[in-house]
C-alpha cells in the first residue's frame, strides 16, 4: 500500500495546474459563444491533455490513459478548485459510451462517442415503461422491421433529459415470440423523429427533470441497432469500468458530507453553533465513518481493477452505499435546518447542487436523495443483486419461474 503523492504525481499536479491557468476560465477567442460552447471547446483541449475522457481510446476522441486513481483525484481536485468543466456527466457518457465501446459497430463508435464525451451530444435513456419498472425485461414498446426501417410504437417513462436530448438509447421488443429477455433490441433513436411526443413529469421537488415519451409509428433507420436483434438485454447490461465509476459515487458522498459539515458550522442551535452540540458531532462522525469507507473502498476497487482482478461483491455495493449515505445526510440536514424546513425551496434552488447551497438547496437534497435511491435500479433491486450475485442466495421465485420457462 502506498498512498503518497510521489514526485511523479506532484509533477503531474503542477502540469494540470499550468494547463488550467492557461485555459480556464477562457479568454479571448476561447471566451466567445455560450457557456456550453466554451465548455465544449475547453473539454476538447482537456482531452488532448489527458485530463478528460481518460478511459476512452484516442480513436474515439478520448485521451486513452491507463487507469490511475491518483491522477483522477488530482484532476478532480484541480478542476474543482477553478470550477473547470471536467468529464461530461450524464447518462450518455456514463452508460451509452461504455455500451458502444463493448458492443457498438465501428461506425457507431466514431459517430457517437466523440460528440458525447465532449458534451455536444446529449442522450436520454429509454428503459422504464409504465408497466415495466424493476421488472424491466417485461417492456412492451414495439419495434417492427417494415420496409427496411424500424417502426416504433409504445411509451417510455421516467426519461430524464428527454426534453433536451438529441438521441435516446432505447430498449424495444423486436421479437415478440421469443422469451422475454431474448426478445429485446437496443436502438439509438433520433429524438427529432416525427411521431415522438415528450411530456414533462413534475417531481415532488417542483421541477420537471424527467418525462414521459410517447412513440407513434416512429421510423428509425435499420442500422440504428446496437448488437444483434434480440440481444438488447445483454447489450444494456454493459457496466462502466473506468475511474469515474469507482471514485465518482464516493467523491459525490464526500462532497455532500463536506456540505453538511459547513451547514452544521453555519447553523445556530441554542445560541451556539450546531457543530458544538454533542449529539450533532456524534451523528456527523457516524456518517463520516460510512463516507470514508465508501471512499477507500473505491480506491481499493480501482487498485484491483488495475491489477486485472474483479472487485467482487464490493463493486455491487457502491450504489446502495451512496444511497444510504444520502439518506443519513438528508435526515441530519433537515434537523439542522429546523424551522427553515417549513419553507418551500425557491425556483433557483430546485436543481440539486453538489454540495447543496443554502437552506433551499438542502431541502432539495432531502427530496433528491429519494430520487437517487430509486433511479437506475432501486435500493431493493440493489439488495437483490447483492444477495443473489454477491452472496450466492437463490434467485427469487418470479425470476426463477421465468428463466425455467
Amino acid at each position: 500500500m502506498d498512498l503518497r503523492y510521489s514526485k511523479e504525481y506532484e509533477e503531474y499536479r503542477r502540469k494540470v495546474r499550468e494547463f488550467l491557468k492557461s485555459h480556464w476560465p477562457p479568454s479571448g477567442e476561447a471566451a466567445k459563444g455560450s457557456e456550453a460552447e466554451q465548455a465544449t471547446r475547453f473539454r476538447a483541449l482537456a482531452i488532448s491533455h489527458g485530463c478528460v475522457a481518460r478511459s476512452i481510446p484516442t480513436t474515439y476522441g478520448g485521451s486513452g490513459q491507463p487507469p490511475d486513481v491518483l491522477k483522477a483525484v488530482i484532476i478532480a481536485e484541480e478542476f474543482g478548485r477553478v470550477h473547470a468543466p471536467g468529464d461530461v456527466r450524464g447518462i450518455g457518457a456514463s452508460m451509452l459510451v461504455p455500451t458502444l465501446l463493448e458492443h457498438g459497430r465501428e461506425d457507431q463508435k466514431h459517430r457517437f462517442i466523440p460528440p458525447t464525451i465532449c458534451g455536444e451530444m446529449h442522450w436520454c435513456q429509454g428503459y422504464s415503461e409504465p408497466g415495466s419498472g424493476s421488472d424491466l425485461a417485461s417492456l412492451k414498446t414495439r419495434a417492427e422491421l417494415i420496409d427496411g426501417e424500424w417502426v416504433v410504437n409504445g411509451q417510455k417513462i421516467w426519461t430524464s433529459g428527454a426534453q433536451i436530448a438529441q438521441y435516446m438509447f432505447c430498449l424495444c421488443r423486436t421479437e415478440p415470440d421469443a422469451p422475454k429477455h431474448a426478445g429485446i433490441s437496443y436502438l439509438l433513436i433520433d429524438m427529432a423523429s416525427p411521431g415522438i411526443d415528450v411530456r414533462p413529469l413534475r417531481q415532488m421537488t417542483g421541477t420537471a427533470d424527467f418525462n414521459e415519451v410517447f412513440f407513434t409509428n416512429v421510423r428509425v433507420p435499420m442500422d440504428s441497432i446496437v448488437g444483434k436483434r434480440g440481444e438488447g438485454w445483454a447489450v444494456s447490461r454493459s457496466t462502466l469500468k473506468h475511474e469515474r465509476n469507482m471514485i465518482g459515487d464516493a467523491a459525490g458522498s464526500r462532497a455532500l458530507f463536506e456540505g453538511l459539515l459547513r451547514l452544521a458550522r453555519e447553523t445556530k442551535r441554542n445560541g451556539k453553533r450546531a457543530i458544538d452540540d454533542p449529539g450533532v458531532r456524534q451523528q456527523l462522525a457516524t456518517i463520516e465513518g460510512y463516507v470514508l469507507s465508501h471512499q477507500y473502498s473505491g480506491y481499493r476497487q480501482l487498485t484491483q481493477a488495475a491489477r486485472g482482478k474483479d472487485a467482487g461483491i464490493a463493486g455491487m455495493m457502491n450504489k446502495l452505499t451512496s444511497t444510504n449515505i444520502g439518506h443519513s445526510v438528508a435526515k441530519l440536514a433537515l434537523d439542522l435546518l429546523g424551522d427553515e424546513g417549513l419553507v418551500a425551496p425557491n425556483n433557483e434552488a430546485r436543481v440539486m447542487g453538489l454540495p447543496p447551497r443554502g437552506h433551499a438547496g438542502w431541502i432539495i437534497q432531502n427530496m433528491w436523495s429519494l430520487g437517487v435511491a430509486i433511479a437506475g435500479g432501486s435500493a431493493n433491486i440493489q439488495r437483490n443483486v447483492i444477495a443473489e450475485r454477491g452472496l450466492g442466495l437463490p434467485r427469487d421465485f418470479a425470476a426463477q419461474r421465468e428463466s425455467s420457462r
Binding site: 500500500m1 502506498d2 498512498l3 503518497r4 504525481y9 490511475d68 486513481v69 491518483l70 459539515l261 452544521a264 458550522r265 457543530i275 454533542p278 458531532r281 456524534q282 456527523l284 462522525a285 457516524t286 463520516e288 465513518g289 460510512y290 470514508l292 469507507s293 465508501h294 477507500y296 473502498s297 480506491y299 481499493r300 480501482l302 487498485t303 484491483q304 491489477r307 461483491i313 464490493a314 455495493m317 446502495l320 452505499t321 444510504n324 431493493n380 440493489q382 439488495r383 437483490n384 447483492i386 444477495a387 443473489e388 454477491g390 452472496l391 450466492g392 442466495l393 437463490p394 427469487d396 421465485f397
Partner: protein
C-alpha cells in the same frame, strides 16, 4: 497510488487463515468457551512458530520487522475464527516496548516476546477511571534504588497468563511489572467474551520499571489498539455474514430454504453492505499509523468507532437471522456476539472515539 495489499501481505493473511482453519476447528473453540481457560497453549505455540506473535518486533530481536497493517491483517483473521488468547494485549505490550523501551528493556524482553515464550499484556483501565492516559492514577514512587508501583487495573486481557504487564501510570507514562514480583495480585473477572478473558491486577508497592519513552508511546499504543480492534471487528462481522448466509442456504421452511425469501435476502444484503466497504477503512487507518502520522489518531478513532459498531449490529442481525437457535448457548453465533461486545467496549466506546475524532478534526 496503490491501495492494495502486497503479495507478501496476501500470503501472510492466507497463511494465518489456513493455520486457523486447520488448528482452530469449531469443537476446540466450543471446548474453550465452555472451559476454565481462555488460552490454548498449543494454538499460541503454533502462532508463534508462524511468526505471528512477533510481527512488529525488529528483526534483530527475532521479530518480522513488519508494520501495523500486517498485524491488523492477522487480527482480522483471528476475529474471523474467534481465536482465543493473548494476541491483542501481547501485541500492544510488545509494541509499547519497541516504541518506548530502553535498550536494556528491549534486549531483556523483545526476543522472548517475539518468540511467544513470554506473554505480555497491557493494563490501562482503572476502577472509576478511563482509557485515556490523562485518566491513569496508578502511582510509581522511588524506593531506594528502584521504583515501586501501587494501584489497581481492570479488564486486563490475558491477565492470568501474562508474564509481563505494561501498566499505564499517573502522568501518562508506562511501567513494566513482572508477574512474579512481590506485591502483584491477579484475579479473574467473569468477562463477557470467553475467547479473550480479562482480569483485575492490583499492585501493592511492587517493583516496577518505567519505559523511558512511555509518555510518547502511550498515545501511539492507543491508536494501534484501536486499529487492531477494528480489524478484529471486520473479521468477526464478515464471519457473521457468512454464518447467516450459510444458514439461509440450509434452513428449510415452507418447503424451501429461507434464503429464497426476499425479507431474508435483503437483511443479509444490508449486513454485507454495512461491513464490506469498511474493510478499506481499517486498512487506511493501519496504513496511516505506519506512514501518515498526522492522520493516524483520527483514522484510528473513526475506524474503531465505525467497525465495532457495525460488528455489534451485524452480530445482532446474525442472531435474528438464525431464529431461535441463534439465541442459544449451543449456537456459535453467541461467541462472535460477545467478541463484538469486547471490541466495542475495549479502549473506549464508539461514542467516545467519535467525539475524539470530532475534536481532532477541529469541529
Amino acid at each position: 497510488m496503490n491501495f492494495g495489499l502486497s503479495d507478501e501481505q496476501e500470503l501472510l493473511q492466507d497463511t494465518a487463515h489456513r493455520f486457523l482453519e486447520e488448528r482452530w476447528p469449531a469443537q476446540k473453540r466450543r471446548a474453550l468457551v465452555d472451559g476454565a481457560s481462555g488460552h490454548d497453549a498449543d494454538l499460541w505455540r503454533g502462532m508463534a512458530e508462524l511468526g505471528l506473535v512477533g510481527l512488529m518486533v525488529e528483526e534483530k530481536a527475532g521479530g518480522a520487522g513488519l508494520e501495523l497493517l500486517d498485524l491488523a491483517l492477522v487480527a482480522e483473521v483471528l476475529g474471523r475464527f474467534a481465536a482465543p488468547g493473548p494476541f491483542l494485549g501481547h501485541s500492544l505490550a510488545t509494541l509499547a516496548l519497541s516504541l518506548g523501551g530502553s535498550e536494556a528493556q528491549k534486549e531483556r524482553w523483545l526476543p522472548r516476546l517475539a518468540s511467544g515464550e513470554a506473554i505480555a499484556t497491557l493494563a490501562l483501565l482503572e476502577p472509576g477511571g478511563g482509557w485515556d492516559p490523562a485518566e491513569w492514577g496508578v502511582t510509581v514512587t522511588s524506593a531506594g534504588a528502584g521504583l515501586r508501583i501501587s494501584g489497581e487495573k481492570l479488564h486486563v486481557p490475558a491477565a492470568e497468563i501474562a508474564d509481563l504487564f505494561v501498566v499505564g501510570v499517573a502522568g501518562g507514562g508506562l511501567a513494566l511489572v513482572e508477574r512474579t514480583t512481590e506485591g502483584v495480585r491477579i484475579e479473574a473477572i467473569e468477562g463477557v467474551d470467553r475467547t479473550r478473558r480479562v482480569g483485575r491486577v492490583g499492585f501493592a508497592g511492587a517493583v516496577a520499571n518505567l519505559l523511558p519513552g512511555g509518555n510518547e508511546a502511550a498515545p501511539r499504543l492507543r491508536d494501534a489498539g484501536l486499529v487492531l480492534l477494528a480489524a478484529d471487528a471486520f473479521g468477526g462481522a464478515s464471519r457473521c455474514v457468512e454464518l447467516s448466509v450459510e444458514y439461509a442456504k440450509t434452513r428449510v421452511q415452507f418447503g424451501v430454504t429461507i434464503g429464497h425469501f426476499q425479507a431474508v435476502k435483503h437483511q443479509l444484503a444490508n449486513m454485507a453492505v454495512e461491513i464490506e466497504p469498511a474493510r478499506s477503512l481499517y486498512w487506511y487507518a493501519a496504513h496511516a499509523f505506519d506512514h501518515l502520522p498526522a492522520e493516524a489518531p483520527r483514522h484510528a478513532a473513526l475506524a474503531k468507532a465505525h467497525l465495532t459498531d457495525r460488528f455489534m449490529q451485524i452480530a445482532r442481525d446474525t442472531v435474528e437471522a438464525h431464529g431461535g437457535i441463534g439465541f442459544t448457548w449451543e449456537c456459535d453465533v453467541q461467541i462472535w456476539y460477545k467478541r463484538a461486545m469486547f471490541d466495542r467496549a475495549f479502549l473506549g466506546t464508539p461514542a467516545l472515539h467519535r467525539e475524539r475524532a470530532a475534536r481532532l478534526a477541529g469541529w
